[in-house]
Structure formats: structure tokens, C-alpha cells
Symmetry: C2
Subunit: 723 residues, 2 copies
């Protein structure tokens, strides 16, 4: 089947003085939109083409005249000092130590006695403000009547005087004495009015722009640098930078109680999304998101009134717009664009509700780090496309795009050709499937403390960065993002209130003990436990990966509170006296039927042991890695970890089918070679066989009713067949 | 230096019809005592020799006539049923499931409604006794008004109708229909009187016996078999088998409050010594120990009145005699004998206070498992002797001995010769050092929840068995047991009340998070933390191994509560957002100067990371294994684990000297080759260089003032030199 040449659904960057070449690439790639990028300006002549024009738009930074005139509007955050040990009954803490004074300035304007907090971290007790005073010259807090050899911290309110993204770019690119962009806070009426006025003026001055690409709205994710101008703290989901005295006061009015500095500082963990969110933090997220939605809606309405579309970049100043949260829909955005690193991030974008379209920005970014003599941008593009394509087959973004310097990319003809291929293939896929539903053999519920609110966002710390403590769990997200299953994200309150939704076949609980992703103290909730047990016993499946249902240090005799379902528990050191005999050890099993390489559990989980009636599929080193266990009419499956690999993805799929007791339905729209996958669209009348690798692959494809056919696929091929 | 032929300090077994050969071996080995063993009887003629005769004596078993006539005196224990999930509002639990009915019988005599407990393990709540009833025919408990899909357990009082050691021997040796020995409880006056009367008669009937070797007194350590007649639960230190209704009533009278079944069952952990002991369990140990001491004293006094010595075997029915506890001295024993498996167990015996002498029973036991065609008893004996000899050099037992069938051993002339060598070498060592003090470069305090009460007993589950969760910590005990350091065991209450004792140079805290050996919730005690911090800052050392000062799941922002001292913490998953930059990484360090093989941390400890001012000696795989950190004038040293090896023993010694800031005193009475050690006795005027291996070794010996000399040692050699 030869694809007809198609156009559209593609956004590309351009440059100044690059008109002719841009026109050629628009033609070749079938692009229908042009964007500017950080550091590029569009050629004015481009604006005459019959093509959509995007313009990045910054709301809360880039207007230092305003910010400097209204210093009270500068954005703020709560920070914790170093932990400092008292060696006598007096202690002075240099609370700015290890912070970057070009980014952070203490807020002395609002009374520290009211808004700061000194805590004895050895006891957790607050030191009364009468016992300490602030030296605003030296940025120190001196306290009296402290206990020698207790550790103390100062939680202080600080102004953030440099926008984190601009700071990062500035420092990375050595922009020297270029002015630092000061972020200001829409919470202050002056700032709010300024933002609206500025946008109004800008809309009037830029009639040719079709799409205002907000980068983004009001609050940057938490990103704090240290005294060596290096990253000190980063949380892509962090609400740290949204705080201010007016916000605290408004919160109290709305929610009926006061927040403490500790609600933000959180023992120095700053409400990382790995923390089971406290009620206060949940309330605060809701409070900020509602406010951000209201404020963003005003700007979006202005954009619409000007006859333009409003698009939001999913990143940078996106805090408060959580696209799966309850307030997002109110903003009224037309579109969201985000960066695609893999299948998970593709789904994070493509599943976003309440917008007319989504756009994925693909890699590589047209920057000299890849586009240089000897660089291989095609390899990176292939890797990116083949990785994300799995997810597109489940739920496509509506558009794709690239960013950076077009001039650079144009110098690599192979790359130009590959983008042509990607664009054509994307449009072909999209035209076939965007209005249909792919076949799903299972509906999977991913259970954690965040649920749908942070769909596809588990385990993210800094967007796209690898973490030793994350990769063995992230593989679950990456597998699910491209598999022939429906995925829902559920939180414990959902389960507690409504039970497990009827359509769910398998619950998946994956993460480290005590974290929001495993669930922490939610697993002490008897209603949650009873609901899941009853549901599994009724014939459903529970797949636990890592430390599912775990309470660190045990609770009522167990580490895994669903040990009875899983058939395994983790030895915490207290039950060594209880003999553990080998359980049923099987040499072959449905779950590992497709295994070719050694099984890989990443960091694995230590000291897990099976119960006598558990089936052990893989074990070693006095530890248990992969088991199944009957529970009533249902099943529990345990896996010690699941870093992403095609084999592990296949393993997870099999584990879920087995847990759901649907092994007999497994060989349907399924390709046996884990490097290949099938996406079927029965209502549309065709299916596709994908080669997810850059190598030729041979695979056996099961369609329906046991029919199978051998297929040879070219590198990266997608083979469409009619049903 | 040729050793003169010496005699004495050696106990050997004998057999019937083996008189002449026994006499020859007595002569050859210089034995001065003969013992019987399980399953052997002494030749009556032997009793005429001018040699001490030991006789094993069983107090609480072996008299089934009595036990069967007084079934109310049969020993008891609290057991927990399986955890069983309710699937409706009624539930029946077969509480005897997975217990061995030849060992365990439910006690229906004492009212279950009063003495049993049904617990909802999903909530931790007790189910009122009105809601359940016992079926004594079927051994079930049926409960009503339970919550579907909650887990329930029954804690029941049971009679132990078979002595665990006799049961083990019986089953292992297929003794068929030989009667099962029923253990009875001294707590019942009939049993108490019977025991005393029996001993009185026995003493009168056995005038030729010199030493009554109690095996042991009243209560066996907890050892429960399962329905397949296999070990189900074993705790060498467990007080499980000491309970009875009279004991519970007496406890209430003495301590002023009532114990619950859950105080014994402990969520199924049964107060394993890995559990931080509860106040109730501590009180119970004290209560039982005081009672056992009183009762044992009566028997010991009778032995003394008969002109004999009273010796106690450290094992089997030893519960309540904890030799480092506060009640042991009251018993008035002459001696303790115990089994020597390594240096740690040697010290466990040799350090016992309040007795005239201690005796170590060495390996191999003269049993067919080693003494058979092709067996190599010499290799086992060498391993045992060279391993334990290190500890003897620090604090000798007063006697050594062997057990089993002498006839078997006599068939191995090489073995007979090696025992000759061991006996002579032991006597030589003993004569030189027993009344002097070895040089110690440091005084080390081992800090855990048990302290001195369980000196040398950390990490024991079943005596002599290997556990994955123990060996990486046990190496610390084994190293210390033979090193040129003084060792004290301290608990947290000692520290809290009195601070760290003045003579201590280094505190060592070693174990897994949450266990009694790391310390669990004691590390939330601000007084403990402040006392240790102040003491380290004053110039002392803290060595943490595994998860020192750890609270599972973090507390006030830290996993390791002494992270500030150690300079490392363990990432629990909550602070991934905080960047961790490489700390000072040194390629050479005093602590690892002697390293030849790759460092080995055993199971290691995961996700530990250093602070910026920490010196990292060894790291890898995004984890930190060995670090040092300055704290005030003192130092913290962290090690991820320390299984025993000569290199690790050397490493620990260096780590402790470094922590104590005494590196300059390290090269004193020290041999550079880790397979060799120096034991110096300055007041006696000599020192010994030991080759701990069965290979020739070359080593450099530092004496004092920097003097050094190269020494070549034969396999296993101990070279004495005068100072």
C-alpha cells in the first residue's frame, strides 16, 4: 500500500532570512504551521504565506520594567534552610547558605515572625517566634533556648527574582550580562492587570498570528539553584513557586483553615509527587488550580476575542493547569503542545481532555548538540518516532511538530527525508484511526495516591531525566502507553468511595514502599483493602510491581498489606524465625512463554518471599522475582521491577492477561515477537503490524479466532492490513 | 619454643565397652573430664578413673509417668493461627492448621474466652469473645459479625506435648515409636516438687558423678514444627514456651498489669530478638528470668549440697537463664558449657560472668555425618579451632571439650593427632593469658536495643544457621570477637540515662532498619540523639553499618537520624527532587589501605547517598558504600555491610580507629596481613602472632613505637614472642 502524499498536522520552526528554504520544506514536509522558538524570530515575509503562525507568548516574565516597579509582585516560594545542629543553647542559622542569591532573596517585607517557621528537626517541634530573630543584613536567624545537639531549620519566605527556565538558558548559554527575567505573580492585582493589558496590546499588534502558544501561564514548576549556580531542587510537578501572602490569606478564606510554612516545606521534601499528598497539599493544589484556571480563562478569552487560538505548552510555567485535574476544562484552551520523549509522554499529551487538539513536539530539537558535523540526527529521530509511535496507535496526538533552528536541520538531507517520512506516516496513521477506537484486550486500572489527576505522570521528577529509583517502575507506564489495553488511573479515594470500577479487569500497583505510587498509609485503610480483596476474589486481577501495598517497617504483621492476594510478602527482618520453604517452582509459565533474554527487574525488590501456595516463576539469591497466586476466583501477580524493554512490555501484558484469567484471549491482535506489536481497529476494518525497531523483524501475528500469519517487516515498518 | 606436655582443661565423651581406648585417649589428649552424650552411656569402669565425670541431667522432660499423671503441668505456649480472610460476615478458622499435632495441642482447660484472642488483622482490633466460639472437637473458632475481606487470626493457648529437642532428634534419627518426651512446667507446684525430688534421688544414686551438666533447666527456646513435621518457627532466644495461666497470674501480681495474648503473639513475629522489645516483653523476660533463677538456684544448691558442681548447657532449655541478664548470678552455677561455632560464640561463652569456669564444646561433633569413610574431620576441626582461637586470645574459655561417639573419632588417627595439638595449644594459651589482660587499642560500644543483656547474641535466629538478612551484619560481631579491642554492649536506655560511658572510644550501630539491632523507634528519642551527637562532636567515633539510626519510611526528613554525624542518608524516594552531587571521592584512604580483594558488603544497603562534605571511599551503581565524615572533633564512618572475612575484619578495625581519630595508634601490636593477627599481653611480657589460616602466611608485625618485623608463619601457627 503506497501512501498518498498528504499535508497538514505538522508544525515546524523557521528562522529569519530563511524564507525560500522554509517554503521548500513546508512543501516537502507538508507543514501547515510555523512556530517561533526561544531565540528565533520569524521572517516577516513568512507571515504572508497561507500557513498558520504560532507565536510563543510569555505571561509572567520578560517585563522587568513592570516587575522592578512592583517588587511586591515578584514570585515567591517557601524554602527550608540547611539543617543545622546547635552546639549550645544559642544557634545562628545562615538560612541562605547553599541557595543561589541571583535567584533567591529572602522576603523581609512580610513579617517573618508571622510567615516563617523555625523547627527543631530532632523533635519536630516548632520553636516559638519569640525565641528567634532575623538579621536582615546577614540573612541569618538567631535563636535562643535551643537544645544542644538538636538540629534546627528555618523555613523562610523568599522571592524568586529570576525565572527558572530563563535562568537555566541564560547560564547554560552564557548570556552574560543580559538582564535576568523577573517572574511576577498574577495573584497581585497590579500584575493581573498588567498581564491582561500586555496581552491586549500584543494581540492588537500581532494580527497575523493565528495561534498564541502560551509558555505557559503563571507559575513555573519548582526549580531552585544552589550557590554554585547548579540545580539544587527540581520537581516538574511542584507547586513551590505559587505561594505568596495574598495566596495564603485567600486559601484561608476559601478552605477555612490556615496553612503553615511546613505545609510547603514538608520536612525538606517539598511535597514531591513521590510523597503521599497530605490533605493540606491536596487542598492547596485545588485552590491554586482553580485560581489559575480563572486567570488563564481571562487571557484565553481575550485570545479568542481576537480571533486566534489559544495553545498551552505543557511545561515550564504550567503549574496550576494540571490537564487531568478538575479545573483544567474551565480554561477553555484550544490546544496543548508538549515535548514527546517516549510513549508515556506522548500519551500524557494525547489523552488530555477538554481541548480541540493536542500537538507533540518531537525530538531531536534542531540544536547544535545533535546537528553538528558527525552528529546523527536521523538516529535520534528514529528512536523518538518508533518509541512514541506505539502510543500514537493507541491515542494519537492531533499534530506533530519540531522546534529549534530550521537552518541547522536543513543542512542534513537524510534528516529532512526522515522527517518527510515521519510526517507522511503520522498523517496516514491519523487519518485512519483518529476517529475510531483501537482494540483493547483488557482495561487496566493503575492505582496510586494521585490517580487520574496525574495520569501518565507517575515517577516523573525532572521531565525526561533518568533516576535510579524510578526506572524500574517507569517501564510499567511506558509499556502500558503503547499496549492493546485501555488504561485508567485510579486513586485510593476512588476505590474507597466507589469500589473498583466495573470495567476494570486488572489493577496495577507499582512503586517503592511508602511512596504515593505504591500508596503508603492508604494501605492501612481497611475499606481500601477489603474492596480490592473482594474485587479480586470475584475473578479479577491484581498486579503488584516493586513494593505494592507496602507499609515501610510493617503493619499488623505484614509489609505488603495485600500479601494475601499477591501470595508474597517482604521480609522486614522481623520474621526470620518463621521458616520459608520453597513454594511451587514452575519451569514454564504463560507469563514467561515469550522470554528470550534473561529477565530484568532493574533495581529489583529485595527480600520478597512466597507463601506455600504461591506459584514461583522466577527466583534467585534467596529472593522472589515473579510469582502468581490464586485468590478466590481471581489472581495476584507479583513482579520485583519492570524497567522498560520490549521483552518486559510483553511480560507485563502477559502478566495482566494472566491476572485477569484471560489467557485464552491473549492470542488476538497480537504479534509474538516483542519487538513488534499489533494495533487493530475492528470498527474501521483494519489492523497494523508495527516494527518498533530499526532492524528487520519476523513475527507471527494472531488476528482473531486463532488465525495466525507470519510477517516480515522492514526496519521501522508499519504494515496495514484490512480485516 | 617447644610446648611442654600439659594436661587438663579438656572434656571428652566416651562410650560403653571402650574403656582401654578411652584411657589411651585421656592420656594422649591430657583430658581430665569425661562426659556422656545424648545416646551414649559411660562405661561403668570409667567411673573408677581419677578423672572428673560429667553427667547430663534433664530437669523438665524424660519423666512421662509424671507428665501423663499431671497433664495440667504440661508446658504451654501462645500460638497464632494462619491469617484467614472472611468472605462473608461469618468465619471459621481452623487454628491448628499447619501446626504439628504431635507437638501442639490446644489448651481447652483454661477458658478460651479469657485466655485466647481473635484479632482483625486488617484493622488491628480485637474481636470481642462474645462474637466467637470454639469447637473443641474440630479445633476451630467460628466468629460472627466479622467484616468481609478482613483477615482474622486466632491467638490460642496450646500445650506443647513433645520436647522440641527430643522431637528433633526423634524425627531426625527415626526413633519410631519410642515415647515422646513430654515437657512439664516448674511453674506448677507438683512439677516443682517432682523435679526437686527427682534430682535428690538422682544425686543420691550417682555419687561418682562430679559435675551435673544441666541440659538445661525449665524452658526450651521457641521451636515449633509444622504439619509436615518440619521446623515452622525457631528462635534460639524466644521465651514462647514459658507461658501458662499461673505465670500470667503471677506476672499480673508482680508487675501490676495484665498481659494479653498479643503480647506473646506479636502480630506473628513472637517477639523475635530482631523486634525492638516492647516494655511488656522486657517486663516478661525479667519476670521469667527472676523465677527461673529462683527455681534453678534450688536445684543448684542441691547439687552443691551433694558435693558436686553444677554446670549449665547454654542452649535447649536455657530460656530464662540469659547469662548476661540481671538474674543469672543468683543461680549460683559453677560453670557454663556451650557450643563453639566461631569467634562470636566463643566470646558468648567465655565472657559469661558469675561462674567459676566456662567450657567450649568444639566441632566437629563425633557423629557419622563427618566421621565416615572419605570424611575430613581434621579440616572441620582446623576451621573451627582457627576461627575460635582469635576469640580465645581475647578472653579464653576455661576448658574445651568434644561431644559424640568417641569410638568414631578414634578411627581417625589424623584427627586424634589434631585434637592432641589443639588441647596442648589451648592449655599453652590458657596458662599464658588467663590471668592477664590483652592489649586493646580501643574500647568499642556496640549499641542496640538489647545491649549487654544479649551480649554477643545480635542477629542469632537459630544458633549457627545462615540467614541472608543476617550475615552482612554478623561479620561485625565475628570481627570484634577476636580483635585487639575491648567490647561493651550498650542499649539505648543506658545512653539516654547515663550518656555514652566515658571509656568508650567508638560506638558501633549495625543492622537493618527498624530492627532491634539498628534500634527502630529509639532513634526518634531526642535525648538519645543529642547524647550521641554531643559525644561524637567531643572527639569520639560513630561507625554505622547497614541502616544505622534508621527509621523505615523516614522521620522528620531523614531515614538515618544520625545522618548529620554519618554524612550519609538513605534515599527513601521522597527526596529525588533534591540533587545529589558527587562528594569528595578519594582514591586512597587509611581505612582501605590494606585492601587486596574487592570490597564486599554482602547484601549491602541500597540507595545511600553522601552529603557534600562527606569523604567517599567507595561507591558504585549510584550508591555509596564506605564513607567518613567529620562531626565536630569526632568522626562518623559508614559501611554498607560487613560480612565476615579477614579483609573485612581488618577494614572494620581500621574504620573504628579512624572514627576514634586514633590512626596514629593503629600500627601497634598489629600484623599487616589480614590473615594474621597479633595478641599482646604487655603485663605478662609477651605477644603472639597468629596465622588464622591453614596456609603459610607472611606478615609484618608492628610492636610498639613503630618497630616492625617480618614474620613467616606455618599454617595455623601461633608464634609467641617476649616483649
Amino acid at each position: 500500500m503506497v501512501m498518498a502524499k498528504t499535508t497538514g498536522r505538522l508544525t515546524i520552526p523557521s528562522d529569519e532570512n530563511f524564507l525560500h528554504e522554509t517554503e521548500q520544506l513546508i512543501e516537502k514536509w507538508g507543514a501547515d504551521a510555523i512556530r517561533d522558538s526561544d531565540g528565533t524570530k520569524l521572517d516577516t515575509a513568512l507571515k504572508q504565506l497561507s500557513i498558520k503562525l504560532y507565536s510563543t507568548y510569555f505571561v509572567a516574565r520578560g517585563y522587568n520594567d513592570f516587575a522592578e516597579k512592583h517588587p511586591e509582585t515578584v514570585q515567591e516560594l517557601y524554602l527550608m534552610s540547611d539543617r543545622v545542629t546547635a552546639t549550645s543553647d544559642q544557634l545562628t542559622i545562615d538560612f541562605m547558605a547553599h541557595y543561589f542569591d541571583q535567584q533567591i532573596q529572602p522576603n523581609y517585607h512580610d513579617d517573618p515572625a508571622e510567615y516563617w517557621e523555625v523547627i527543631d528537626r530532632t523533635t519536630g517541634e516548632v520553636v516559638p517566634s519569640q525565641q528567634w530573630r532575623v538579621d536582615t543584613k546577614n540573612h541569618t536567624v538567631t535563636m535562643t533556648h535551643v537544645v544542644p545537639y538538636h538540629e534546627y531549620t528555618v523555613s523562610f519566605l523568599a522571592n524568586m527574582i529570576w525565572d527558572p527556565t530563563e535562568m537555566y538558558n541564560h547560564l547554560t548559554n552564557n548570556w552574560g550580562d543580559r538582564a535576568h527575567q523577573i517572574p511576577f505573580d498574577v495573584r497581585f492585582p497590579d500584575a493581573e492587570q498588567f498581564m491582561q493589558k500586555t496581552l491586549k496590546d500584543w494581540l492588537a499588534a500581532n494580527p497575523e498570528i493565528d495561534v498564541v502558544r502560551f509558555t505557559t501561564f503563571f507559575y513555573h514548576f519548582t526549580l531552585v539553584f544552589d550557590d554554585q549556580a547548579r540545580e539544587k531542587f527540581v520537581d516538574w510537578l511542584g507547586f513551590g513557586g505559587t505561594v505568596s501572602v495574598p495566596a495564603l490569606k485567600a486559601f484561608e478564606k476559601v478552605k477555612g483553615y490556615k496553612l503553615r510554612p511546613e505545609d510547603f516545606v514538608d520536612q525538606g521534601f517539598y511535597n514531591s509527587s513521590y510523597r503521599v499528598p497530605s490533605k493540606h497539599y491536596r487542598d492547596y493544589i485545588d485552590f491554586v488550580s482553580a485560581f489559575v484556571a480563572d486567570q488563564a480563562k481571562i487571557l484565553v478569552d481575550m485570545v479568542h476575542d481576537a480571533g486566534k487560538e489559544a495553545m498551552m505548552f505543557l511545561g515550564d510555567n504550567w503549574i496550576g493547569t494540571e490537564p487531568y485535574g478538575p479545573n483544567f476544562g474551565k480554561i477553555g484552551l484550544d490546544a496543548v503542545v508538549g515535548s514527546v520523549g517516549n510513549a508515556t509522554t506522548l500519551r500524557l499529551i494525547s489523552d488530555i481532555p477538554h481541548v480541540k487538539y493536542t500537538e507533540g513536539r518531537f525530538l531531536p530539537y534542531f540544536f547544535p548538540d545533535v546537528f553538528h558535523e558527525g552528529g546523527d540526527p536521523v538516529a535520534e529521530a528514529k528512536q523518538n518516532w518508533l518509541t512514541a509511535r506505539r502510543a500514537i496507535m493507541r491515542k494519537p496526538v492531533d499534530r506533530i511538530g519540531y522546534g529549534g533552528y530550521l537552518k541547522l536541520a536543513a543542512q542534513f538531507p537524510d534528516f529532512v527525508d526522515y522527517v518527510t517520512h515521519v510526517a507522511d506516516e503520522f498523517r496516514d496513521i491519523y487519518s485512519r484511526i483518529h476517529d475510531t477506537h483501537p482494540y483493547a484486550g483488557l482495561t487496566v486500572g493503575v492505582l496510586n495516591a494521585w490517580g487520574q489527576q496525574r495520569a501518565w505522570q507517575p515517577f516523573i521528577v525532572a521531565h525526561g531525566k533518568w533516576y535510579k529509583q524510578a526506572y524500574s517502575y517507569e517501564g510499567v507506564m511506558e509499556s502500558l502507553a503503547g499496549q492493546a489495553v485501555n488504561v485508567q488511573f485510579l486513586n485510593f479515594d476512588d476505590i474507597k468511595t466507589h469500589g473498583v470500577p466495573e470495567n476494570i479487569d486488572v489493577l496495577v500497583n507499582v512503586g517503592a514502599a511508602g511512596t504515593a505510587f505504591s500508596g503508603g498509609d492508604y494501605w492501612k485503610d481497611p475499606d481500601v483493602l477489603a474492596a480490592i480483596r473482594a474485587w479480586v476474589a470475584a475473578g479479577h486481577g491484581f498486579v503488584g510491581i516493586g513494593s505494592p501495598s507496602a507499609i515501610p517497617g510493617t503493619y499488623e504483621g505484614r509489609t505488603f498489606q495485600l500479601a494475601d492476594v499477591l501470595g508474597v510478602d517482604q521480609e522486614a527482618g522481623f520474621s526470620l524465625s518463621t521458616d520459608k520453604y520453597p513454594a511451587r517452582d514452575v519451569s514454564t509459565h504463560f507469563i514467561t512463554e515469550n522470554r528470550e533474554d534473561p529477565l530484568d527487574y532493574g533495581e529489583s525488590t529485595h527480600d520478597v518471599y512466597p507463601f506455600p501456595d504461591t506459584t514461583v516463576i522466577d527466583q534467585g539469591h534467596h529472593e522472589t522475582y515473579l510469582t502468581t497466586h490464586d485468590y478466590g476466583d481471581g489472581r495476584g501477580v507479583y513482579l520485583a521491577g519492570l524497567p522498560y524493554s520490549p521483552q518486559n512490555s510483553n511480560l507485563l501484558l502477559r502478566a495482566m492477561f494472566f491476572a485477569a484469567s484471560k489467557e485464552d484471549q491473549f492470542n488476538q491482535w497480537y504479534a509474538t515477537n516483542p519487538d513488534t506489536e499489533v494495533a487493530a481497529y475492528p470498527s474501521a476494518g483494519y489492523y497494523a503490524v508495527l516494527n518498533n525497531t530499526d532492524q528487520p523483524q519476523k513475527t507471527t501475528v494472531y488476528t482473531t479466532a486463532g488465525h495466525q500469519t507470519d510477517v516480515n517487516l522492514a526496519p521501522g515498518e508499519i504494515r496495514w492490513e484490512t480485516i
